[in-house]
Amino acid sequence: MSFAPEELLACALARLIVARPTAHVAVGAASPVPAAACWLAVKRGAPIRLSLLHKRSGNPFTEGSRELFDLTGQGRVDLFFLGGGQIDGQANLNLIGTGEWPGREVRFPGSFGSAFMYMMAGRTILFREEHSPRVLVERVAHVSAPGVSEPGVFRRGHAQALVTGKCVFAFDPARGRFILESVHPGETVESVRAATGFGFDVAAGVGETPAPTEGELALLRGPVRDEMLETYPEFCGRVFGRRAAA
């Protein structure tokens, strides 16, 4: 059965979500793929509460935009998603820009809440579709949010994994280093290495990222799409559109 690249990514993310105990996920990134992954995990029966920050009606928060951060500070957010204009081999994120501070060469929008969320969420899955030496760098130009922290600094969680358009990396916070876990169909360890600006380890059992099953695709194109239609109409049309119309 054919599938869109976004469907593969959603399934890979959903597997990472259910791989660890997860009561509550907040999805703040504008990207719809993590949202699809969360809904897929839920529709497969995982007892997960989702707080979808971009949902217009039924926004989960009644204390305004600070509630997500308070909630995370309380330790009630088990999993958050982050991306980055640059991500480096120590899992540092750069959402500020390149060139002289504050981004005189290329300016990204800004850190949003990443400098807090990355350290206070139970764990974070990094997601960035573009997999290139421009994005995945040896050392970010500016650290918006650090991948690891010194002793004496409160930190609840780290990156669990980095999912890109080419592969899935795990992250080892003790060593501050990524480990290639699987490559997506059509990629190899070598093609990933060529496209990655940072050094990484390769897992002993590295293989291919599993293709979505028929059951997963049916959920994505049915109940998951239904949940996402209000917030991400363009995405649903492009990725699930044809199939859903059939």
Binding site: A30, R56, S57, N59, F61, T62, E63, G64, S65, R66, F69, D70, G73, L95, I96, G97, W101, P102, G103, R104, E105, R107, P109, G110, S111, F112, G113, S114, A115, F116, M117, Y118, M119, M120, H142, V143, S144, A145, P146, V148, S149, E150, G152, V153, F154, E234
Partner: protein, 269 residues
């Protein structure tokens, strides 16, 4: 009750003006009025990030500084005038991170000189904030960031309604309440004035800000447009996309502004 233009006139050049972002009750109407009055040297604060209104004010040359956790047009992409101004070095950008802006306003709300906040240590945001400091926390001994109380000169936002007593209803966007509490003056544009007193109604009171904190109210129908206003009207994606396209260049912004900001009486239509 004053007019929108009177409200814009009451904001002095150089003021520290706090604005909520898209989807959190920005007063785009007041931003346009500030551009019309030719405000200069404004220091804008994104609560906690910045959107359409901030980009518009930068494009119109009203802004000297932006303190924010991010500036973007959401689905329409990067904020073009913000991005160009950073590159050209024509505005000073003071980067923060969302909960830090909330905490600095809450410090003022609570009348304390600082608030502690976890996270941030290890981020270059901290390295670029000489006004933030790290202490050893009482009780736990951990290293923790302390943020100074921040008191905007002006808080500006747009609410669905005010009542005859001067109370303003903002629903669940409670960051606007904190903002009003923390600011010297709160200027609020509203869709309409309704009879009665929200504070006398148990159902409406929880979403209200008492008149105690509100300095002035002006009616501005569709004053959040093109941003969505709660359940009243939706996001005008086509309008923002056109802005994003035209505002890529200074000339394009000027053309857009001539039509959408400066054209006489367009706001009142």
């Amino acid at each position: 009750m004053i007019t929108l233009e009177e409200m814009a006139a009451s904001v002095p050049d150089g003021a520290l003006v706090a604005l909520p972002p898209d989807n959190s009750l920005p007063s785009v109407a007041l931003a346009k009025a500030l551009a019309r009055r030719g405000a200069k040297g404004l220091r804008l604060l994104g609560v906690p990030v910045s959107g359409f209104a901030t980009d518009l004010l930068i494009g119109a040359g009203c802004v000297a500084e932006v303190q924010t956790s991010a500036c973007s047009l959401g689905e329409a992409g990067f904020a073009p005038r913000f991005t160009a101004a950073v590159k050209a070095g024509t505005i000073r950008v003071v980067d923060a991170t969302c909960p830090a802006i909330h905490a600095m306003l809450q410090a003022t709300e609570k009348g304390v000189p600082f608030m502690p906040l976890r996270g941030i240590i290890g981020s270059d945001i901290l390295a670029n904030r000489p006004d933030w400091t790290v202490i050893e926390a009482p009780f736990t001994g951990e290293r923790i960031v302390c943020l100074p109380a921040l008191e905007p000169d002006v808080a500006a936002f747009h609410a669905p309604m005010a009542d005859e007593a001067g109370n303003v209803w903002i629903g669940r966007r409670r960051e606007c309440a904190t903002l009003a509490h923390a600011s010297r003056r709160a200027l609020v544009t509203v869709e309409r004035i309704v009879p009665g007193n929200f504070l006398e109604d148990e159902r409406l009171a929880p979403g209200a800000i008492s008149a105690t904190y509100v300095s002035a109210i002006a009616v501005a129908a569709r004053g959040a447009h093109p941003v969505a206003l709660l359940d009243e009207y939706g996001f005008d994606a086509a309008y923002v996309a056109e802005y994003a396209r035209m505002a890529r260049t200074e000339a394009g912004f000027a053309e857009w502004a001539a039509r959408e900001v400066f054209a006489p009486r367009r706001e009142a239509a």
